[in-house]
């Protein structure tokens, strides 16, 4: 059913509309689906499009016939008929029948699409402004948890490194931590969000589901081949909406098991001793990283913010005031602004990023904020 010639049709129309050559390289249709459900959806789209093209050609065949043969300049005299019950009933009923014929396969596909039961692995995807967080909840790998943010260098986006951009085949569609899943298993994705609505969208796996703050939605996919599939946030979520991609890496079962093991070892290694005393320098170094991932999009790496939109941290009263107030603000966010709650970060991450802001740019409080004081205020 796939590639049934719709491509050619679209190709022909596109070529007519523009004289640009070498269209063949560019994608004119849905991405090649890599799930069985995706193939059904692909075929459904092909069928609907073909039916539309046939009706379109039919109706406008009549119109263009009239345009060329029933014109005054060829001496055609106007007939004065203005109704015909038989014809009118026919063109009401025939489309109705066609629509029913379309609705039947669509119903089956939709029901399959929404059946998220009996999943092998369940992963929760949480949308943040502007990155994704993943928690493996059930199945092999349960307990794994990480954030996934855009890894394309800012210089390629801002145009300082145009050559780098042009040489980057995955520009804007690459992350620091990919979602990894095994091939041939039913993966259920739960979506939710921490701040505003996002949407988890991977075209080649035929999934798109909004992530609504405070609610859980779900969707599923079962990838047929190992590979790397790329998508993006599909619901406007603020200024960095275009910069929070989703990359799903589908692996063979063995490789997946190995990946799970490596993640678990990493997690143990990264576990910090809760009693450790941190020096200011240590906190600042770690804080700079946390700041880059969570804060710099609005407050900027320079700490100067964006006048009018996002306040500067450099010289800020809050940052240079009592620790408790700043901790409270970061933990709870500020209602009615883009400053969201950052409760989801760990005590150490919060302590380090607050320490970093209190000792960077024009801020010289000389204070280190301890993870313990974060814990106390949670």
């Amino acid at each position: 059913m796939r590639n049934l010639g719709v491509n050619k049709w679209i190709f022909a129309v596109a070529s007519l509309l523009s004289s640009v050559a070498a269209w063949a390289e560019y994608k004119l249709n849905l991405q090649t689906p890599h799930t069985l459900l995706g193939e059904k959806i692909y075929d459904l789209h092909t069928i609907v499009t073909i039916i539309c093209v046939i009706i379109f050609v039919g109706v406008f065949g009549f119109m263009f016939y009239a345009v060329f043969h029933h014109r005054k300049s060829v001496g055609h005299k106007a007939a004065q008929f203005h109704e015909n019950t038989a014809v009118e009933v026919a063109w009401t009923l025939i489309p109705f029948v066609i629509l029913i014929a379309l609705a039947i396969p669509a119903t089956g596909t939709l029901i399959t699409m929404r059946d998220t039961t009996e999943a092998d692995i369940t992963i929760k995807a949480t949308g943040y402004q502007w990155k994704w967080g993943y928690d493996y909840l059930k199945g092999e790998g349960a307990g794994i948890s990480f954030y996934s943010a855009l890894s394309t260098p800012r210089s390629q986006i801002d145009g300082e490194d145009v050559a780098g951009r042009q040489a980057n085949p995955h520009y804007l569609l690459e992350t620091d931590n990919n979602v990894v899943v095994p091939v041939g298993q039913k993966i259920r994705i739960l979506t939710t969000a921490a701040d505003v609505i996002h949407a988890w969208y991977v075209p080649a796996l035929s999934v798109k589901q909004d992530a609504v703050p405070g609610f859980i939605r779900d969707t599923w996919f079962k990838a047929e081949q190992p590979g790397i599939y790329r998508g993006q946030c599909a619901e406007l979520c603020g200024k960095e909406h275009g910069f929070m991609p989703i990359v799903v890496e589908v692996m063979t079962a063995e490789k997946y098991t190995a990946w799970v093991a490596s993640q678990q070892t990493k997690a143990v290694a990264a576990k910090v001793d809760p009693d450790k005393t941190w020096t200011l320098a240590e906190l600042k170094t770690q804080g700079e990283k946390v700041f880059g991932q969570n804060c710099a999009a609005c407050h900027q790496a320079t700490g100067m913010g964006v006048p009018g939109a996002f306040p500067a941290l450099s010289g800020s009263k809050v940052v240079n005031g009592p620790q408790q107030d700043q901790i409270k603000l970061v933990l709870n966010g500020k209602q009615g602004t883009a400053m969201n709650s950052f409760k989801h970060l760990s005590d150490v991450e919060l302590a380090s990023v607050i320490t970093y802001t209190r000792n960077s740019w024009s801020n010289h409080t000389g204070e280190a904020v301890s993870p313990a004081s974060i814990k106390a205020q949670r």
């Binding site: 849905l30 005054k72 300049s73 203005h82 489309p95 798109k208 405070g214 609610f215 619901e235």
Partner: protein
């Protein structure tokens, strides 16, 4: 509608009245106008100004998207442009344009002296400039315009800056204006028809506005409710759209689209009306299936209240609800199909000529149908889930809104300009305007179908490299389309200042009262005594 007795007498009678008429002059004429023709003119010029403002915003968007990377604007400004481009085009350009047509034409087509409530008519218009001022002024609020999309989804809208409040007030004002305008139109159409003009004898344009006005009265308060809830969530501690306080962000979407889907038809149905006047006139043949046209339009309007959630298939709802909304949505294809078939049948075995209004009407027919077909593709839920919030949807609604509503507005303006101004437009330039608009429109939007199919989300300021070629083409098309509209402005000004004198009935096949009973230009006061329709 023809076969009217003492036809010539009445015409002269009107002339007589006009001669002794005190037409206010200067600024007062416009500020305090209660004349449906002057108010119609103001609506149309206002709409054109907004069309230019919204168009410039579109060109900012297309400039940034010409190449991958961030070159010209920052993402937050880009988001503000997509938001206000949408709001200004929908509420500032297209809706007022058709209200302008309604003001000019409804009294003349039903043989009434003016609108039912002339003072309210004045207020409906003069509410628009302050609303426009707020929408444009929002760009200069601290933090810039609200980059939340024209749909103003919560909770993004509850976290936006002060520009959001200006936007909410603008929508309140626009809503008041629309509701008053609609009440005026309904009252005029139901009470002020000339003796003998039954409802089923009204020109199709009047019918489409009667139906549209009911839609407006029904849904504008719903939108006002949605944005008021956003406002109280922002400032007065309510949690309608905040899950932490027991609310639900998706509630906003339900309320918005309960307004939003009928809104699509509020824009499209008057466009159907214009085209239903133009096509028969240039086919020299009565509209095919007048009665079925009326019923189809009413069915579309009624169905439009029952399909809102097809804009939200990915927002999360039970599968049963998705099935219902899919079935209800595909049903709309039936009455819409009837309309298209009727228009084609009107042309069938006619005696066609192709002056500019007819060209735009045919452009409308061809491209609106294409937009209808992509709508059918989108109505199939599993396919929609793939295409939702991608450029496929952007392409779809621009085929319906631009090639649909805008092309029909152009058709209407070229059609009635001789009646309004008493002068003919330059036919050759009009045709050039049509062909430029047609080519550049398709260059801009046809390729966006491919972008959406391949997975490019809408409302992003930067994109992956595989989307580069089509975006470049689309941007070139957008600039071409934008500059072509300057030619339109030139044509209209040239018509007003130096067009050839127009005959009373320049179009052979035009048969509604404004052509058969009134001179060109139509006098300041027309039908002071109603004509009698047999």
């Amino acid at each position: 509608m023809e076969a009217v007795h003492t036809h010539a007498d009445h015409g002269h009678h009107d002339h007589g009245h006009d001669d002794h008429d005190h037409k206010p002059t200067g600024l007062k004429r416009w500020l305090m106008s209660t004349n449906h023709k002057d108010i119609g003119t103001m609506y149309l010029w206002f709409s054109f100004c907004m069309f230019i403002v919204g168009g410039i915003m579109a060109l900012v968007i297309r400039s940034e998207l010409f190449q991958p990377g961030l070159q010209i604007v920052k993402p937050e400004f880009f988001n503000s442009m997509t938001t206000y481009h949408g709001l200004i085009m929908v509420f500032g350009a297209i809706m007022p344009a058709f209200v302008g047509f309604a003001n000019w034409l409804i009294p003349m087509q039903i043989g009434a002296a003016d609108m039912a409530f002339p003072r309210m008519n004045n207020l409906s218009f003069w509410l628009l400039p302050p609303a426009a001022f707020l929408l444009i002024g929002a760009q200069f609020a601290p933090g810039g315009g609200a980059g939340v999309g024209w749909t103003l989804y919560a909770p993004l809208s509850t976290q936006a800056g002060p520009a959001m409040d200006l936007t909410i007030f603008a929508i309140h004002i626009l809503g008041m204006s629309s509701i008053m305008g609609s009440i005026n139109i309904i009252t005029t159409l139901l009470n002020m028809r000339a003796p003998g003009m039954t409802l089923m004898k009204m020109p199709m344009f009047c019918w489409t506005w009667l139906i549209t006005a009911y839609l407006l009265v029904a849904v504008m308060p719903v939108l006002a409710g949605a944005v008021t809830m956003t406002l109280t969530d922002r400032h007065f501690g309510t949690h309608f759209f905040n899950a932490a306080g027991g609310g639900d962000p998706v509630l906003y979407q339900h309320i918005f689209w309960f307004f939003g889907h009928p809104e699509v038809y509020i824009i499209a149905i008057p466009a159907f009306g214009v085209v239903s006047q133009v096509i028969p006139a240039f086919s020299r043949k009565p509209l095919f299936g007048y009665a079925s046209m009326v019923y189809a339009t009413a069915s579309i309007a009624i169905l439009s209240f029952m399909v809102w959630a097809h804009h939200m298939y990915t927002a999360g709802m039970p599968v049963q609800a998705q099935l219902y909304f899919m079935y209800a949505t595909v049903l709309i294809a039936v009455p819409t199909g009837v309309k298209v078939f009727n228009w084609v049948a009107t042309m069938w075995r006619g005696s066609l000529t192709f002056e500019t209004p007819m060209l735009f009407a045919l452009g409308f027919l061809f491209l609106f149908t294409l937009g209808g077909f992509t709508g059918l593709v989108l109505s199939i839920t599993p396919v929609d889930v793939q295409l939702h919030d991608t450029y496929y949807v952007v392409a779809h609604f621009h085929y319906v809104m631009v090639a649909g509503a805008l092309f029909s507005a152009f058709a209407g303006i070229y059609f009635w300009l001789p009646k309004w101004t008493g002068r003919m437009y330059d036919e050759k330039l009009g045709r050039i305007h049509f062909w430029l608009s047609l080519v550049f429109f398709n260059l801009t939007f046809f390729v966006q179908h491919f972008l959406g199919l391949a997975g490019m989300p809408r409302r992003i300021p930067d994109y992956a490299l595989q989307f580069a070629e089509f975006n470049a083409i689309s941007s070139v098309g957008a600039f071409g389309f934008g500059f072509s509209q300057l030619l339109f402005l030139y044509i209209v000004i040239k018509t007003i200042t130096s067009g050839e004198k127009a005959p009373d009935r320049p179009w052979e096949g035009a048969d509604s009262l404004e052509w058969t009973h009134l001179p060109s230009p139509a006098p300041f006061h027309s039908f002071v005594e109603p004509p009698v329709i047999k």
